[in-house]
Amino acid sequence: MSSIPHDHAAPHDAAHEHAHHPTGIMRWITTTNHKDIGTLYLWFSFTMFLVGGVMALTIRAELFQPGMQIVEPEFFNSLTTMHGLIMIFGAIMPAAVGFANWNIPMMIGAPDMAFARMNNWSFWLLPPAAFLLVLTFFMPGGAPGSGWTMYAPLSVQQGMGMDLTIFAIHIMGASSIMGSINIITTILNLRAPGMTLMKLPLFCWTWLITAYLLIAVMPVLAGSVTMLLTDRHFGTTFFNAAGGGDPVLFQHIFWFFGHPEVYILILPAFGIISQIIPTFSRKPLFGYASMVYAVAAIAILSFIVWAHHMFTTGLPTAGLLFYMYATMLIAVPTGVKVFNWVATMWKGSISFETPFLFALGFLFLFTLGGFTGLVLAIMPVDIHLQDTYYVVAHFHYVMVAGSLFAFFGGTYYWIPKYTGTMYNERLGKWHFWLSFITFNITFFPMHFVGLAGMPRRIPDYAQQFADWNAIESIGAFGFGLSQLIFLYAVLKCIRHDGEKAPAKPWDGAQTLEWTLPSPAPYHTFETPPEVK
């Protein structure tokens, strides 16, 4: 683990009693330091990414050819379910929180998060939850095979793995809610003098809005899985028509959480991209105010579109039309953001270091994913595409080529600040190009097989889908292996095997963290800076 140097040059007065922090494992268990906690979140998320990735590769190995070769159908359903849960709740969300922890205090000139001890608890809830999720594979009945969306009544039928999963979801929800309270309070209360809200870096704005989304919808998820738990064990019939309930009720409650959730997954990534593009274009972000309003518009709209996940359930006509129109509307603020990013680059002075390559990959591929989202929003077309590989392609484009690429870009961008060592540019470029190419080999053909009629969540398929599936599987293994380059590059920085990083390795960078030394001292901005 990295040793972040303690800055002895900072003044200590007698009133500011500073107990020496523990070393070794106790340091990590008891830390209340936002940089340590950020590191914990980032390592946890990368580990879960690899675990979820192994599940994905097993899925793709089974789907390499028609016929059942490697796993049984029930286990295949467990793999698709847990791959989704682990990637969403174990990889993407914690990575976003990791960046929030590391960057927000430094970007606003604060010494730490508002609730430093609750910050520790927010993190340490996650490893036990992840343990529970993985443990379900070893329970009688195996891990849940209901899909990450856990629709009733199938989820009511599942074995006890489903109960452990519900418990894990409660724990992770609590972690997210506490983290969000922390982030909102920090951003609203601990900004350095002179940093008005409209001077906040976009990364902080996107996290501020994401935190409100989390507080609004995680309790709804908790409600839906609790109703599932009581239907399973305590005789309620929320989702059982025989008792007066309705299976579709689960879908409404789940997706009321689920749709804002996907914006929770992407908004922090938008924030990272909004930091990287101006830096490497050496030009301020175009349309700062519009960018803030666009994120707010996306967040508000995200609450009124959930039933576009339910177009085939038999909603009444008025409902279908409303949800179609509302969903299409989200394209407007999202488009505004894409145009503003391009306008930032326009007439800039552009260089192509690895963080910027990932930002370009994000822009290109996330936009492609956004367009397939628009296609899916058109209800008559969605009838063809709902529950097919077209949807799988869409969400992998926005979540992998979207969020994950933004997180990779953010890592390369900030790792000089975190570790004091520049990453190896050649490794970074290899990682980018291999990831970009293999990602597209894996996921682009999924549009084709989805259009052609291949359903999702099936372990075996009809002959006409065989060729594309074989290509997708090859791409998937390539993508998985490429991530080892990233691991290697990060480890090199942590072990200080590379060029020493200056305080501001990126001459176009403007935000407060770049005024600090690299690596950033353990405690920073104990005296707030003046922001003009």
């Binding site: 899909g147 030009k283 552009i350 367009f371 296609v375 060729d467 501001k504």
Partner: protein
């Protein structure tokens, strides 16, 4: 400007390695080899994948040959539409997709231009502008107008899709784990439709047929050019009834009935799959619809009515147990083998073995009860939808196969056990 006066130069980073130039040459060679290998592999793959599957002549089938063109091995678009609604959906998708492609090319053309012309390495100096309200308004309003142009035809199609009035024919469809039931409400007959692809093909012991995973014993049959209204429900969990060529996909929700409709314009066989995860055999409960000419449909329907009448069979008939067991083997293979396996060995920890099982070898009442009612809290569903004869047959089969020696049963025993 940063502390070092310029951004990091890649060759400098590499200069800490003594054999930088040799390494670069090796890396270049490796890159080229990797690229040609990948291309070769990608080209070889379709052949490899195809070689695994038998593309031999179609097995003789009672179904009419598909009127769709032979599916391409690399399909990339929606299936050919054979109903007016599907045609509209196809056209709508094309329209939306090409608009998106045009916008995509426009936006990334501009970005590509900026990346090319406004590079630091060609000496371009950064401008300082960072906002423009007019431009923001323009690129908010124009996309909004484009959306209106998309929403208008889409709305018309939605209204058409939801109009199930005045059907010529109504069929109730029920999704089960893991088969479909078609009930021709006004004609008074119904039947189950189950996957017929043999386990041997799924387990790679036999070459795969051309309609692998898309073939059933009893397809749904409808007349050409009739407006068919579908009343769709489910027996256990949510399923979804989907035929791409018709543009119909409707979730089958237990305890509720949802309707949909189609009007097939071309005679032929159309195939689809269950489109909502419903358990382990979700990928193995396809849908096949045969569209017949109106005369052919009439004679088929008359046949079905007659079959149904005689199948109010004499349940008191005393069957020869061996004969029942032989019939029962077919019932077992299409309903039970997926979990209990063709060899009766089950899957340890998940599905009990029937070979040597004490219930199968013990008094019949327990096994009859289990087959009729399932085992709540486990994966064993109820099979009460099967006929008394079929249940007696499958029980007799299990009781005489794999070394089992259980006392055989008769259809009237099953009938007596129902409702108890």
């Amino acid at each position: 400007m940063n502390d070092r006066g310029r951004t990091l130069d890649v060759t400098e980073a590499c200069s800490i390695y003594p054999t930088a130039s040799r390494l670069r040459a090796l890396v270049g060679l490796a890159k080229r080899t990797a690229m040609s290998a990948t291309v070769a592999l990608l080209c070889a793959l379709p052949q490899l994948a195809l070689a695994q599957t038998q593309q031999g002549p179609t097995a003789p089938s009672s179904l009419a040959p598909s009127s769709l063109p032979v599916p391409s091995s690399m399909p990339y678009n929606l299936q050919d539409p054979v109903t007016p609604v599907a045609r509209e959906m196809y056209a709508l998708h094309n329209y939306i997709m090409w608009i998106c492609v045009a916008i995509f090319i426009g936006v990334f053309g501009v970005m590509g231009w900026a990346l090319y012309k406004h590079r630091r390495s060609v000496g371009h100096q950064a401008a300082h502008f960072h906002e423009n309200t007019v431009v923001e308004v323009v690129w908010t309003v124009i996309p909004f107008l484009i959306l209106l142009f998309m929403a208008w035809p889409a709305t018309k199609t939605v209204l058409q899709m939801k109009d199930t009035s005045n059907p010529d024919l109504t069929i109730k469809i029920t999704g089960y784990q893991w088969k479909w039931n078609y009930d021709y409400l006004h004609d008074g007959f119904s039947f189950y439709s189950t996957l017929t692809t043999p386990l041997a093909q799924r387990e790679n012991r036999e070459p795969k047929g051309p309609n692998y995973l898309l073939e059933v014993d009893n397809p749904m049959v409808v007349p050409q050019n009739a407006k068919v209204r579908l009343l769709i429900t489910a027996n256990d969990v949510i399923h979804s009834w989907w035929i791409p060529a018709f543009g119909v996909k409707q979730d089958a929700i237990p305890g509720f009935v949802r309707d949909s409709w189609f009007k097939a314009e071309k005679v032929g066989v159309y195939r689809g799959q269950c489109a909502e995860l419903c358990g382990k055999e979700h990928g193995f409960m396809p849908i096949v619809v045969e569209v017949k000419s109106p005369e052919d449909y009439k004679s088929w329907a008359a046949q079905q009515k007659q079959k149904n009448a005689t199948a109010g069979e004499d349940v008191n008939k005393q069957w020869d147990p061996g004969q029942l067991a032989t019939m029962g083997e077919k019932v077992y293979m299409s309903n039970c083998a997926a979990c209990h396996q063709a060899n009766g060995q089950g899957v340890p920890g998940a599905f009990p073995a029937l070979a040597g099982d004490k219930v199968v070898n013990g008094p019949p009442a327990d096994q009859i009860h289990t087959v009729l009612n399932g085992r709540p809290g486990t994966a064993m569903p109820s099979w009460k939808q099967l006929s008394d004869t079929d249940i007696a047959a499958v029980i007799d089969y299990t009781r005489s196969a794999w070394g089992n020696k259980g006392e055989p049963v008769q259809p009237k025993d099953i009938k007596a056990a129902r409702g108890s």
